[in-house]
């Protein structure tokens, strides 16, 4: 503080003594401090302390869990895929020891990843077991009355969404009840994949939903993540094999912040925007996404080791949207 600030002596003292930092002094060591860290952190490294409960949402298994529905064939010969989705109020652990009163599809955030092939008939039986009116609004082609906007489903009510899976690509679904921002921020969203009739090349496939949580309800996120749990894939790195093609279905639903991004270390990836075209748009290591934007990215690691991936907004990365790939060489 320089003497040119124009503060009175009293102001100066006030700022010193009663201002935000104007607290005492003198160190004493924290004897017998409760060591919360269950694993040794590197000193001076950002991250949460402790681990989320094993009984809650498992970010590693969500990563590769695809719901193809109950499959049957319609008289027309068309494949029918039926899904049951319920809106449920549930408290979820978004960082170790930090609980958020979420609204969920089937008790999890993100909801189940619905997967169908282009031209299939999709039938989603939706039940609202929550405390507010909800809907499911699917991205993709469908009739106007299947849009999940003008047909709010009241608590205790139900609705059947039925449409053909098209166009091929990577989509999402989310609640479109009002206030929209609240219903999305609370966790009502999931991924909807429509595979092209000609299958994509064989690859190890994963889903990453980029999201965040406004735990103190002040209109900005405290916790950021890929798949809900802050630092989930730093604490449990995603295993990979050298030379194996990796395909990530990347969906940004982040509320409150205008943009999000994906940055891959020591590598580049091919970008298929909205997953709706056969040829990649771009070869890069940093991809910017607004809310609702989603892309398929593909890459391969040629060398073993631990590689980081994260939002290239440093703030988001250090508030939870950061993870590791553990690449192993099967030949070694």
């Amino acid at each position: 503080m320089s003497p040119k600030d124009g503060m009175s002596r009293r102001e100066l003292l006030k700022r010193g003594a009663f201002g935000a930092a104007g607290l005492g002094v003198i160190g004493r060591t924290v004897d017998g401090a409760a060591e919360l860290a269950m694993h040794a952190h590197d000193p001076m490294v950002a991250g949460t302390v402790g681990r989320v409960s094993r009984t809650g949402f498992d970010a590693l298994s969500y990563l590769e869990q695809f719901d193809y529905g109950t499959v049957s064939t319609l008289p027309s010969g068309q494949t029918l895929r039926e899904y049951d989705i319920s809106a449920v109020d549930r408290e979820i652990e978004v960082a170790p020891g930090v609980f958020y009163p979420a609204w969920t599809y089937n008790g999890q955030v993100p909801g189940p990843t619905i997967r169908a092939t282009e031209g299939d008939r999709v039938r989603v039986r939706f039940r609202n077991l929550g405390t507010h009116a909800h809907t499911i609004h699917f991205h993709g082609f469908h009739p106007a009355d299947m849009d999940g906007v003008f047909e709010p489903v009241l608590p205790g009510g139900s609705f059947v969404y039925e449409f053909d899976a098209e166009p091929a690509g990577l989509h999402l679904y989310h609640c479109h009840a009002v206030p929209l921002k609240k219903h999305i921020a609370k966790g009502l969203y999931g991924v909807y994949i429509v595979d092209p009739k000609t299958p994509r090349s064989a690859a190890r496939e994963m889903v990453m939903v980029l999201n965040g949580f406004d735990t103190n309800l002040d209109g900005s996120n405290e916790v950021y993540a890929a798949n809900t749990v802050a630092f989930a894939y730093r604490d449990n790195p995603i295993p990979m094999r050298v030379g194996e093609l990796q395909r990530i279905y990347l969906v940004n639903v982040l509320e409150f912040d205008l943009i999000n991004s994906m940055h891959l270390h020591a590598n580049f990836f091919h970008v298929y925007r909205t997953g709706s075209v056969a040829r990649p748009h771009e070869f890069t290591d940093t991809l910017m996404m607004c809310q609702g934007e989603r892309h398929i990215i593909e890459f391969t690691y040629d060398r073993p080791g631990r590689y980081m991936f994260h939002a290239h907004q440093s703030e988001f990365a250090e508030l939870g949207w950061m993870g590791h790939f553990q690449v192993e060489d099967p030949a070694v």
Binding site: M1, S2, P3, K4, D5, G6, M7, S8, R9, R10, L12, L13, K14, R15, G16, A17, F18, G19, A20, A21, G22, L23, G24, V25, I26, G27, R28, V30, D31, G32, A33, A34, E35, L36, H41, P43, M44, V45, A46, G47, T48, V49, G50, V94, A95, P96, G97, V98, F99, Y100, T215, N216, L217, E222, A230, F231, E315, E318, L319, G320
Partner: protein, 386 residues
């Protein structure tokens, strides 16, 4: 009369016992739970102290809210960070905890510490200018004693040097100086009260900062009044000496509060107590010495007694600076500053009595003296402004 059938103490205790029974039945039965149903817990954490060591930030927090709070995560500068918390992550009502964060803080820059509770609530604290917290040692005590000496003891001692001049003043002008002392004390009293209320705002809710100001200031006023009543009422030199002691005491308590603030500010490297500021403090506080000797100007006190009066008024600044630098908390500051305000108010009342009837109180010399006292303090206060 039915009341006569019971001893007095039973009648006094009866409502207390009834209250106890009602409280017990409330906390045993499900009524409290029913009242709480569906309402999320009210969480409140107050930051009491921040200590910066090389590569480490320590914060002391106190739970001033009605419910326990569990600290789940710590963010520094918008990043989750490693931390330890002692004695326990769950802090009960009125409980305390110390959180240690290994963090490469940057000298001279601002940092923000946010605690994230298990329910997702955040408690935020800003370090406006990061500075290494001084360690306790001879150097610490030496530096803070020196600061207290310069801003408290020396100015008061210099003010006492007006004593020979006062002795030669006519009674009319002596009354003027006495009135000037009243103005000076009113200024200091309002200042102490203001600072006490400022500090009270930082105190955790359960500790009722503002009410603490009322209890502290009125408590001090009434206690000193009770204790000093008989001495001050004595006729002649003894009574006047008692008034002088009271003035010195009240200024001393005020200076203790001032020392607290200076100590805390200096320890954090926030207050650039340069030569200019110290000179300002000296000018401002010198008038305090004048106030002490005004009532006893005619009484030829021994030099030893003058020195004792000066020390009583000035030395607490050193003590305050030590406490402020060592263990400042808003709670202490609120308490000391309100006691100071109460002590000053009591002396103003005593002087008001001494100054005689209504006619002499509002005579030009007295009323003018009070006004000049206020103006002198305000003007020298301006000099301190940086």
């Amino acid at each position: 009369m039915t009341e006569r059938r019971f001893p007095l103490w039973i009648l006094i205790l009866l409502p207390v016992v009834m209250l106890g029974l009602v409280v017990a039945s409330l906390s045993q039965g499900g009524l409290l739970d029913a009242l709480r149903r569906g309402v999320p817990p009210v969480e409140e954490l107050t930051f009491e102290r921040v200590v910066l060591r090389p590569g480490e930030i320590h914060v002391d927090v106190v739970n001033g809210g009605p419910d326990p709070v569990t600290v789940a995560q710590v963010m520094v500068d918008e990043a989750f960070w490693d931390f330890k918390i002692a004695p326990d992550p769950t802090i009960v009502r009125l409980g305390r905890a110390t959180i240690s964060v290994p963090y490469p803080w940057v000298k001279g820059e601002a940092h923000q510490v946010v605690l994230l509770s298990s329910t997702g609530l955040t408690f935020e604290h800003e370090i406006p200018v990061a500075e290494l917290t001084p360690e306790v040692g001879p150097r610490f005590f030496g530096v803070f004693a020196l600061i207290g000496l310069y801003v408290g003891v020396i100015p008061v001692a210099i003010g006492l040097l007006w004593y020979p001049a006062l002795r030669r003043l006519e009674q009319r002008w002596l009354n003027f100086v006495l009135a000037l002392t009243v103005g000076l004390l009113v200024f200091l009293g309002v200042d102490a009260l203001h600072e006490a209320l400022e500090a009270a705002a930082q105190v955790g809710g359960a500790f009722q900062g503002t009410m603490l100001v009322a209890v502290g200031s009125l408590g001090a006023l009434l206690t000193i009044e009770l204790v000093s009543r008989s001495r001050v009422r004595r006729e002649g030199a003894q009574g006047r000496a008692a008034v002088a002691w009271l003035i010195a005491l009240s200024i001393g308590v005020h200076n203790l509060g001032e020392g607290l603030a200076i100590g805390a500010a200096y320890a954090l490297g926030e207050a650039a107590l340069g030569a200019f500021l110290i000179i300002g403090f000296m000018l401002h506080n010198t008038t305090e010495g004048l106030g002490i000797v005004a009532p006893i100007a005619r009484d030829r006190p021994a030099i030893g007694r003058l020195a004792a009066l000066g020390l009583l008024a000035g030395a607490p600044t050193i003590l305050g600076a030590w406490i402020g630098g060592l263990a400042y908390t808003p709670l202490f500051a609120t308490l000391f500053l309100s006691i100071g305000a109460g002590a000053i108010a009591q002396v103003v009342i005593v002087l008001w009595r001494v100054m005689g009837d209504g006619a002499s109180r509002f005579a030009p010399a007295t009323a003018g003296g009070v006004l000049v006292g206020l103006l002198v303090m305000y003007a020298t206060g301006l000099l301190v402004a940086v």
